[in-house]
């Protein structure tokens, strides 16, 4: 369409020199000034923004890593504590059993001692009884013998021998009874 119109007297394709000069100067000046002052600011802001976003992502990643590390640590600690608790429980159980066993042993020992002492006391009492009986039985026997025989035994030596014989018999009787208590249980 420009060619059709160019056929007219004024040629619209012919430039105006002043426009070329002013337009070129205005454009180049604008370009220079904007390039120096405005566009670097834009680029700086873009770079800062990118930096900020990337930095934020990196920080988030680091926090995540730290959290994971802590969780693992806690889990390890927890596992350790569980094992420790189990160990303490086992130890307590073992100790309890040991204490029980010790107490039982002690009690048995005590019982044994008490029984022993009882036995000793019993023995002592019997000894004493035997001694007392021996003295009394001697007298009683003599009196009995005197009354039975109705003889006056003036001779001391003879009397003593008779008593001793009697007692010996008595002793022998007692010893026999001791050595076979079941056999002589009825007498």
């Amino acid at each position: 369409m420009t060619i059709v119109l160019a056929a007219e007297e004024l040629n619209p394709l012919v430039p105006h020199p002043i426009e070329i000069v002013v337009g070129t100067i205005a454009f180049l000046l604008l370009f220079y000034v904007l390039k120096r002052t405005v566009f670097p600011q834009f680029e700086k802001v873009y770079a800062e923004r990118t930096d900020k976003i990337e930095g934020g992502l990196k920080r988030a990643e680091e926090a995540q890593e730290e959290a994971n590390r802590l969780r693992q640590q806690y889990e390890e600690q927890l596992a350790g504590l569980r094992a420790e608790a189990a160990r303490i429980r086992d130890e307590a159980r073992a100790e309890g059993q040991q204490i029980k066993a010790e107490l039982r042993a002690q009690a048995e020992e005590e019982a044994e001692r008490i029984r022993q002492r009882g036995l000793e006391q019993l023995n002592a009492a019997r000894e004493q009884t035997v001694r007392t009986l021996r003295a009394e039985v001697g007298g009683l026997a003599v009196q009995l013998a005197e009354r039975i025989i109705r003889t006056e035994l003036s001779d001391d030596a003879r009397r003593a021998a008779t008593v001793d014989d009697f007692l010996s018999e008595l002793d022998g009787l007692a010893q026999r009874r001791e050595t076979s208590p079941t056999a002589g249980g009825s007498s």
Binding site: V4, I20, V22, F27, L34, K35
Partner: protein
């Protein structure tokens, strides 16, 4: 469009090239010259305002500035140029802003003249783009390497090359700045002419024409003028975008190692 303009009602002088020949305001300074300077000032002030307090969480004005810069940086330069795109972002952003504001002057009240419906600055900008991509290409590949990248596509039979290489040379090296500047100029020129036809035609129908029918129909012409104003707003943004997009694409192709 031109057929509309060449079939005028009796007494109606269709708008034409003469309407683009604006009288000087003072000395040699015309309206487009004032607009060129004003555009540069507006862009500088707007950008400066948007970065007065740069912050990670941007204010509204900073967000607008960043968005504008970001469109050129991320959707044009990075996609078209590749890994070394950052070096060219300031030039491309300035170019986009300068083209956009000057184009939009075409529909902004009180200006209402697209600066680049005069071809001088489009020529100058296209020449600048040509110098840049030629320089970048020669620095990247060496002179012969640059010629080879631009005119010697790989895996082509020799008898095709006889035709293809001259065509590639003409289209990639000679015609790129021409098409770049004429596309912009043509769109701005035609768009403005279209608006003139509807607005001046409506004015003629309402105030000058004798026929009552024309007077009654004149709101239709004004309505079309408004519709095409919206259309022009779209075309002006698109043309600025295409200019920058193609610039980035030219830089990208001369930087590419394989054609």
């Amino acid at each position: 469009m031109t057929t509309l303009a060449t079939a005028p009602a009796p007494g109606f002088e269709a708008p034409g090239v003469a309407d683009f020949d604006l009288p000087p305001i003072f000395g040699p300074v015309t309206k487009p010259v004032v607009q060129l300077v004003l555009a540069a000032i507006i862009i500088y002030v707007a950008f400066r305002y948007s970065v007065r307090k740069p912050a990670l969480v941007p204010s509204k004005s900073q967000f607008l500035g960043e968005s504008f810069h970001g469109i050129v940086r991320n959707s044009i330069a990075r996609d078209m140029i590749g890994p070394e795109f950052l070096k060219y972002v300031p030039f491309l952003t300035t170019l986009f802003a300068f083209l956009l504001v000057n184009n939009l002057f075409g529909i902004i009240p009180l200006f209402q003249f697209p600066t680049f419906s005069h071809p001088g600055v489009p020529y100058a900008l296209a020449a600048m783009v040509w110098l840049i991509f030629t320089y970048v290409g020669i620095r990247h590949h060496g002179f012969l390497g640059y010629l080879r990248t631009s005119t010697w596509p790989p895996d082509v039979p020799w008898w095709v090359r006889i035709i293809l290489t001259p065509i590639e040379f003409i289209s990639n090296i000679l015609l790129r700045p021409v098409t770049l500047s004429l596309r912009l100029f043509g769109n701005m020129f035609a768009g403005h002419l279209l608006l003139l036809v509807f607005i001046l035609g409506g004015e003629y129908m309402l105030f000058t024409a004798d026929s009552i029918l024309l007077k009654v129909l004149s709101p239709f012409a004004f309505g079309m003028g408004i519709v095409f104003t919206f259309f022009e707003a779209f075309v002006q943004v698109v043309q600025a975008y295409i200019f920058v997009m193609l610039t980035a694409s030219y830089i990208g192709t001369v930087l590419a190692d394989d054609h």
